[in-house]
């Protein structure tokens, strides 16, 4: 289960990533953020975001055009 959920459905690039960053800022390191999105570009973007920032992308899933991500906040950032 995620510690916090962000509904970014209906938002286009770069808003899902920007909103996720804002949410992560207020979270405790090690906690997980669930992000819901409809932007197909968010699949590649959240993978890149996590590779660069060091947050762990625990899950990246798609069901009927709805994307779901689980990101664990890095303990070093």
């Amino acid at each position: 289960m995620a510690d916090q959920t962000l509904d970014a459905r209906g938002l286009n690039c770069p808003l899902p990533v920007l909103r996720a960053k804002q949410a992560l800022l207020g979270m405790t390191p090690g906690d997980t953020l669930e992000v819901l999105a409809t932007d197909p570009g968010s699949v590649a973007d959240f993978a890149a975001f996590c590779r660069v920032t060091g947050h762990a992308l625990l899950e990246s899933a798609c069901t009927d055009g709805d994307y779901r991500y689980r990101i664990q906040k890095s303990v070093t950032r």
Partner: protein, 171 residues
Amino acid sequence: MAGTMHEESESIATRRMSLIVTKGTLDWAYPPFILATTAAAMDFEVNMFFTFYGLPLLLKNLDLKLSPLGNPAMKMPMAGVHMGMPNMASMIPGVDAAASKMMQNLMNKKGVASIQELRDIALEGGVKMIACQMTMDLFEYKLEDMVSGPTIGGAATYIEAASNSDINLFI
């Protein structure tokens, strides 16, 4: 003391990006603000240098417009097809304003952020904005007409920022 600070900055290895922003139309305002906010979200230190027609993007009151004139690639989706506009149409008063309004409505409908919103996020995210002094002087803009945050600088200020950056873009 200085040695300690150096070691700390080495271990965090801050990445940096710089952008030169030269265009201030509704469409061209997007690439620099999208990239600057995203880079800042990815822990980059970002410097935006606003010069020439990019400078009005720092004004408190944004009134962004675009023109389909000389832009055959600008085709708007309408009733399932993509419609361009002949250059001649842009000469008619009100046509560019209507095209700008149409683009704005389309962006709102598609969940695209406004430039104001991206600019706010950039400023909140610590993006450094530099207003070109020469352009301010040339077009008679005053710092008090602009959002709070930007500092004044010139080419040397940009070159220093660019020389320390991993990514440098001219838009």
